[in-house]
């Protein structure tokens, strides 16, 4: 079963369409990249997957997004539970002004986990999975604000992982990072997909080609092409996709 089935999704902001009749699947434990020029709707779709768009005034969603067969836009759907299962990592790392440990423990504590030993285990596992533990294990009580940009982004990933999600949504997670920090995040994504389903928005074409299994190309709110990443970057079927990924698109 697919993790998500997006069916005929129409998203409007104040009546203006941002996504038009988009249908696609998100396959479990695979990395799906959403690409396209600015304003094409890729981030809007990403935010629909854990209903982050609910927070935006004037936003209206039609169609369905099924998460394991259940429509997340159905009345009475438990959004809080959805967001624990579908975590999100943003473009800019945003550590809370507290210690490294408390950053990662924040989510579990909100869920009511207060046992010290349990929290220590969760934090350690999340930091290990986010490939950050070795770099910070001696200074877990120090402020997260002192970490480098790349470390802060891995901390954001650790914070997401600590909630034991099933899906991690990433909105341009490396666009603010240097090539070395970017490389670390990309390696991390490669490891994370063994356990998590990942959907990533990226402007970096080479990054999509390197790390994703599936790629969806969006243009002006329309899904132009969705296929395996290899197919998209070797032999796209749509002329618009070809123009965009080869840089001949205006």
């Amino acid at each position: 079963m697919n993790t998500f089935d997006v069916r005929e999704l129409v998203l409007t902001y104040d009546g203006k369409a941002a996504l038009q009749h988009v249908s696609m699947n998100i396959i479990p434990k695979q990395v799906t990249a959403l690409i396209g020029p600015s304003g094409c709707g890729k981030s809007s779709l990403l935010r629909c997957l854990n209903r982050m768009n609910d927070l935006i005034d004037g936003c209206n969603v039609e169609g369905e997004i099924l998460f394991h067969g259940e429509n997340i836009y159905a009345k009475n759907y438990n959004v809080y539970e959805l967001r624990t299962k579908v975590g999100m990592v943003f473009q800019k790392p945003s550590p809370f002004p507290m210690s490294i440990f408390d950053n990662v423990a924040y989510g579990p504590r909100c869920q009511g986990i207060n046992d010290k030993k349990t929290l220590e285990n969760i934090v350690k596992k999340a930091l290990v999975d986010a490939a950050l533990y070795d770099e910070v294990k001696e200074r877990l009580k120090e402020s997260a604000m002192a970490l480098s940009g790349g470390q802060q982004q891995r901390l954001s990933i650790a914070r997401t992982i600590a909630m034991q999600p099933e899906v991690i949504l990433m909105d341009e997670p490396t666009s603010a990072l240097d090539p070395i920090a970017t490389g670390k995040i990309e390696e991390l994504i490669f490891d994370l997909k063994k356990h998590y389903t990942i959907v990533i928005v990226t402007h970096n074409m080479q990054q999509a080609a390197r790390i994703s299994d599936y790629t969806a190309f969006f243009l002006m709110g329309n899904l132009v092409e969705f296929n395996t990443t290899e197919q998209i970057f070797r032999q796209p079927t749509q002329a618009k996709t070809e123009e965009y990924i080869t840089g001949r698109f205006g």
Partner: protein, 215 residues
């Protein structure tokens, strides 16, 4: 449409260099066979020396391809085009080697050697040259049908090669040809047959560059 003027110019220049390399090897095949038929040692040596220019084309085109990959990180049709060029220059270089090999036959033979004409060898040469020309034309014009016709044309080369074998074997039986000369003749025919195979390889890479499928 956004311009990638510099990149597109580089791709156009890559194609131009490939065609120039192809023209040179086509000329070498002609001159190689001519030197063999006329036992023209000077012409044979010219072809052998000029083969270095073919190798230089290969190195220069290869270097340009690697530079483009480094700078542009090409994908989709651009990636297929550059991959195809990298593969095609290897086949063109091998064709150049075979043209030089044919010339070397002229150097091995005695000046007094009696010429024995086998028309089918000229037929093989004509078809091979046309195959190379069409393969390169199909690449430049993205002409799938023309590329496919190159693959089909190889049957003609193989057929003419079989005919040449029989012809030479008969001539040997009837003592119409000197045994040494017959061996050289067959080697020339074999080189031409291999040239046909390389032309097919080129056409297959042309098809790959257009369809993404390597037949």
């Amino acid at each position: 449409m956004t311009s990638r003027k510099q990149f597109d110019q580089e791709l156009a220049s890559l194609k131009l260099n490939l065609v120039q390399m192809g023209d040179l090897v086509i000329r070498h095949i002609n001159e190689g066979l001519d030197s063999f038929v006329r036992l023209d040692v000077d012409l044979a040596n010219q072809v052998i020396i000029s083969d270095k220019a073919v190798n230089e084309y290969e190195h220069s085109i290869e270097k340009n391809c690697l530079g483009i990959i480094l700078r542009e990180q090409p994908v989709a049709s651009d990636l297929r085009l550059i991959t195809a060029v990298l593969k095609m220059i290897t086949d063109l270089e091998r064709i150049g080697d075979h043209a030089a090999d044919i010339s070397k036959m002229a150097l091995f033979m005695e000046k007094t050697q009696t010429y024995y004409r086998v028309d089918d060898i000229f037929g093989m040469m004509n078809v091979c040259q046309e195959m190379i020309r069409h393969a390169l034309e199909s690449f430049v014009a993205s002409d799938l049908v023309l590329a496919q016709s190159v693959i089909s044309a190889d049957d003609t080369v193989d057929h003419l090669f079989e005919k040449t074998k029989k012809h030479v074997a008969n001539a040997l039986r009837n003592a119409a040809v000197d045994a040494d000369y017959a061996i050289y003749l067959m080697m020339v025919a074999k080189y031409l047959e291999r040239i046909g195979d390389h032309a097919v390889n080129i056409a297959e890479w042309v098809i790959f560059s257009m369809t993404g499928e390597h037949v």
